[in-house]
Amino acid sequence: MSGVRVLVGTRKGAFILTSDAKRKQWDVNGPHFGGWEIYHLKGSPVEQDRLYASQSNGWFGQLIQRSNDGGKTWEPVGNQFVYDGVPGTHLWYDGTPHPWEFKRVWHLEPSLTDPDTVYAGVEDAAIFRTTDGGLTWQELSGLRNHDSAQHWQPGAGGMCLHTIILDANNKGRMFVAISAAGAFRSDNDGKTWRPINHGLRSEQIPDPNAEVGHCVHRIAMHPKRPGVLFMQKHWDVMRSDDAGESWREVSGNLPTDFGFPIDIHAHEPDTIYVVPIKSDSEHYTPDGKLRVYRSRTGGNEWEALTKGLPQSNCYVNVLRDAMSVDSLDSCGVYFGTTGGQVYASSDAGDRWAPIVRDLPAVLSVEVQTLA
């Protein structure tokens, strides 16, 4: 029988939420790795019980955990992330050169074809790959060796590579996004990269044609329409119809275009979701109302989705990796908040209900549609 498994990373551990296809009754399992920050968990699209988790804390650093049984048991695998060659410098907050230093893994992206191959986006920004199930990790250093890298600068959350998109339709093509450098594309399996930020406008950057320096928060791509990308930038919701060659703003009638996550309906490539946040200095929902906004037109025209979500005295944030969709016939949409709630909608966002209310602050939400 089909069902869904929701993988939730929090400030103090991981939780696994499971349900049948009705998505009404949920089993909540956890915490796994109690007390550790779990920035991200994700399952292999070709082997659903193969999961990977990024586990870290300030005392003992970075660990990577792997499960072969859908999260019932875990084993630590390789945690050595060493930059290729002499790492060099990027810019620090004050504009001075600062050496590249590994801090943590923000995002794990399993291969679309091989359960032992996984990409890791790390802080300070770089991309690593394992081909042996996480035992060893090698940097794809063409990204960090791009000419612009010496000018990259961290955002408030650190200089993190947080988004990795693998394009199944264009062999060798992948996208990444870095705060606060911007978006990059590779067309040769990560060997070389180039910035794809034309059309982004960032108030902090006086040059309207700046190649890098943009605080991209999240990018989403529908797997069946690979040329179209949607982006939640620091401010602005953006769209590209040419695989990132150019971007145009589609914020339209959103109450605020600041936010973190953006995601796409599993069956409708023009239906997209964002969660507007009041501002970059007030990381909570506007007017105390938690509202997901949905566009069924690929941007510009947005509707507030509120049924089942708190509409008063709610001041939470939804972080960039904390929204996901399932691929059941009636598309499910899920997101987690910094207040520890995980909400689910089994009807594409029309109505919402909490799966759990009182977890630690949610850092990431990934959904697996189970066979």
């Binding site: 804390n57 300030g58 005392w59 003992f60 650093g61 970075q62 660990l63 945690n79 050595q80």
Partner: protein, 99 residues
Amino acid sequence: MIRVILPAHLRTLARVNGEVQLDVDSRAVTQRSVLDALETTYPMLRGTIRDHLTQQRRAFVRFFACEQDLSNESPDAPLPNAVALGTEPFLVVGAMAGG
């Protein structure tokens, strides 16, 4: 045998309860030799106490023994005799920081 007490997070990671006992050459009981033996026996601890490459202690990890803070001692300095003899444990401690 050298006795080592790990912090709770690392006991969970190494899947041990209570003290760890390690066989270390009694003629050269140092931080380095104890941690080398620890990581050989429990490879999942590599990188959690000291850096993979530099072998430097992680910033928020401390080492204690015999009521002394040994965190800033040379990794090649002999540990107290009581540790070498196994009458006192070598403590790996997560510093009071964070939340």
